[in-house]
Symmetry: C2
Subunit: 143 residues, 2 copies
């Protein structure tokens, strides 16, 4: 809680309960929620919170490099407080979006044997497929 306020202040942002709540939620979730989900989750604890503020807040955070926007092909964007370059997996069965901690698939553009004619500043790798628990469920179902 204390740390979050600190971080926002260091980025030159005015510290408000709404901003603390949004950043805190993103720091402590693995779910890569979208704006709507963030809003729904926080409106219980922050009854005055509005969806527009969530959007504006996420926009600030994105600009300042506090969060990363992620679009896996749904109608809406998801957000991730882990801003370093890392791949994501999207399960096409249950829809879950997860971070993939895999060195081989991270920072790919820095490992090329032949340089590209394109100056890369950041990369995004998304793997679509079936997650472990959905594969397990499928196997048990077919027995």
């Amino acid at each position: 809680m204390k740390e979050t306020a600190q971080i926002l202040r260091e980025k030159g942002l005015k510290v408000t309960p709404q901003r603390i709540a949004v950043y805190n939620m993103l720091l402590h979730t693995q779910d890569h929620p979208n704006a709507e989900t963030i809003y729904r989750t926080l409106e219980t604890s922050n009854p005055t919170m509005s969806l527009a503020t969530v959007y504006k807040t996420l926009d600030f955070f994105k600009q300042l490099g506090l969060v990363q926007e992620l679009n896996v092909g749904e109608g809406s964007s998801r957000y991730d407080a882990k801003v370093y370059c890392h791949p994501h997996t999207v399960c096409t069965v249950c829809g879950c979006v997860s971070d993939l901690e895999n060195e081989e698939l991270s920072n790919l553009h820095t490992k090329l044997s032949v340089p590209l004619d394109f100056e890369v500043t950041c990369e995004q790798l998304i793997l679509y497929g079936t997650c472990a628990s959905c594969r397990k469920a499928a196997r048990e179902h077919s027995l």
Copy 2:
């Protein structure tokens, strides 16, 4: 023209001028257009074409594996008739989206030294940065 009709027929689709026009356009462009752009481009030659039909057509094509949907973080989806796995570049200066023909950055999930606990069916790599012509323009501007 003939080939396009053939392809649609083989996929079990009824052949209509609208479907031929959309698929033909995607086959012959490098631009990864979105639905709106496809519609605007085709409405000159196909005056009765409607935007809803473009969306419905793209949806069919996607389902049948004739096109690939691509979301690079804009408001809308782009479409690509090259359906094999290949990376894309997005220039953050001019906004152009291009195919990157690079073997090292293609089919990454098949080259892993350690298998993942996630069954990958397809992958999407997007490189954000500055394209060659925008870098050239920037250099000339700073002289």
